[in-house]
Symmetry: C2
Subunit: 340 residues, 2 copies
């Protein structure tokens, strides 16, 4: 990506909510960046917002140092093949899809493991499309990257760019662990919101329920307002893990319902107290900071293991520099035992 990120040449393929936000931020950061979208109206809209948008995908990505693939989840494998074919072997490729295992497997099967780094920025909005995109949407976001054994150099370059331009908190994880965590962090919550809002839509007292809607309902159904097809794609892309984690949530729901049915205030309060511990840990996290260095010129197995353990433990990176033959990470780990 050149001597500094300011000189990297980037492209964004698929300029909806996330891709458009990536594009606008890269542009505002002074990078040479081009966008492309299969929809001609979206390309015109992007051009009106002052972005370089060639008519042909190939013209947008050729000669770039990094390409963000931001189209819908089902289109990713085909787009990856197409973009890989017209970019240099040194061009880093990444995506922003909500699940990572399938696309990581597809990339490895295509021999792209050394330059494709699966990614997932944890941000979104109820609205979709370029009209809802903003250069600040991803500012400071937790941004998962999935380093592969053969792709450490690509990981480092991309992590450095995301930290520099987006002030990202880069969360390094294995693709399967990401998908398991994302099931609980995002996919199951979408199913619960859909079930709650769907049941109200069918209720005889629907309008009274909406009139009484307290914060618990308004908050708990917010993501049910998102585009159904986008949510369906996200869920289908992580089907097995979403269903498995939904099973775990159902188990706790069964325990709550049993305690309630039995009128057992003690058991009910104990279950709710357990839930509160997770919520308290979410709101009140503090972190310890450390630095960790590895030799830059060899594929060091310890580096990959270190990164994956950091992410699985809830940690993230805010620094990634290659200097004097070493890569130095600035990392943050959550402190202490679960809050009670």
């Amino acid at each position: 990506m050149g001597a500094a990120n300011g000189q990297a040449r980037a492209a964004v393929v698929g300029t909806g909510l996330i891709g458009g936000s990536v594009l606008l931020r890269l542009r505002d950061a002074g990078l040479d960046v081009a966008g492309w979208d299969p929809d001609p109206a979206t390309r015109r809209h992007a051009a009106e917002r002052g972005v370089v948008v060639p008519d042909a995908l190939e013209d947008a990505v050729a000669g770039r140092d990094v390409v963000f693939l931001c189209g819908p989840l089902p289109t990713l494998p085909a787009t990856l093949t197409r973009v890989a074919g017209v970019t240099d072997d040194g061009c880093v490729l990444t995506d922003v899809g909500s699940t990572k295992a399938d696309v990581a497997t597809a990339a490895t099967a295509q021999g792209l493991g050394h330059r494709f780094v699966p990614g997932h920025p944890m941000a979104g909005a109820d609205r979709a499309g370029l009209a809802a995109a903003s250069p600040t949407l991803l500012d400071g976001a937790a941004w998962v990257l999935c380093p592969a054994p053969t792709g450490m150099a690509a990981f480092r370059r991309l992590a450095a760019l995301l930290i520099d331009v987006f002030h990202a908190q880069v969360v390094p994880m294995s693709a399967p662990e990401h998908d398991t965590a994302a099931a609980l962090a995002s996919h199951v919550p979408h199913l619960l919101a859909g079930a709650l809002a769907g049941a109200v839509q069918r209720a005889a007292l629907r309008d009274a329920v909406l009139a009484l809607a307290a914060g618990s309902f308004t908050d708990g159904t917010r993501v049910a307002g998102g585009p159904p097809a986008r949510t369906a794609n996200m869920l289908l892309g992580n089907r097995e893990r979403a269903l498995a984690e939904l099973g775990a949530v159902r188990n706790v729901l069964d325990e709550l319902a049993e305690a309630l049915a039995a009128g057992d205030a003690g058991a009910l309060t104990a279950r709710l107290d357990e839930a509160r511990a997770a919520r308290a840990a979410l709101g009140a996290r503090s972190y310890t900071t450390h630095r960790c260095e590895f030799p830059a010129e060899v594929e060091h197995a310890g580096e990959l293991a270190y990164l994956r353990e950091l992410g699985a433990a809830g940690g993230h990176l805010t620094g990634c520099r290659v200097e004097a033959g070493a890569v130095a990470y600035t990392a943050h780990l959550p402190v202490g035992p679960p809050l009670g």
Copy 2:
């Protein structure tokens, strides 16, 4: 309550989050108001905030025109008996509990149906206690009141006070219909939030899930941060209806899970679209306004039926005036068919 609400003498028994907020608002509105709480430290705290707080409950409520009972749900029937015994028969009593059928039945059994008006303001906070109370917490809130056949005069007086002082949107409902609607609007969402947060607390990747927590998770678990005992009391107070409505939500969740397991994008999208309709109706309600008058001096069956139908249809009152032998309501009804 005197010729105008400004001259009504009020009392609040139980000065936690809701009761304290009622107390502070009545005081700020210029009413003669006294508070009382069983906890001496809370009484001292209330006195420090400039409120009249006698040591004895009887001294707080004697001679008052209206008394708000704001203690924990399980204490309400006993407090109702005690307060009714030391107030005039013309003193209007109300509560702010999250379920209404049981307390309404208890009041009728005690011969208080003519002056006890079950109430439920739809507002709250994660925090509890007087320290979290605020005179603005209930400003403009939807505030359910449950008029009884023998209690129309008390209902009118209380509705007028709430509209005048709190700018409340008074939602008149029968107590059982309130409890059914509240189950979906509040109680089931608390169960879902508890199940989601509880499952994360038990997850092997707990800290990674919290690191990835997207808006769907943060929003969907917010009320799991509330006091477990308070939430348990709320759920236990509406046990049968909460479990019944949880069953309705589970049915939709089963349909979503089946569509997901089958990889049926069409069915999954259709269910999510149904959910989105309820969410869209929540965000984009518009109302038609009308006035309705009834004779004030007789118990008019049409008045009660009109009010209950208004609330069941998602409507509310923003005006209630008794003048020249008639009661005039200003009412608002949501417009149009379900949004698709």
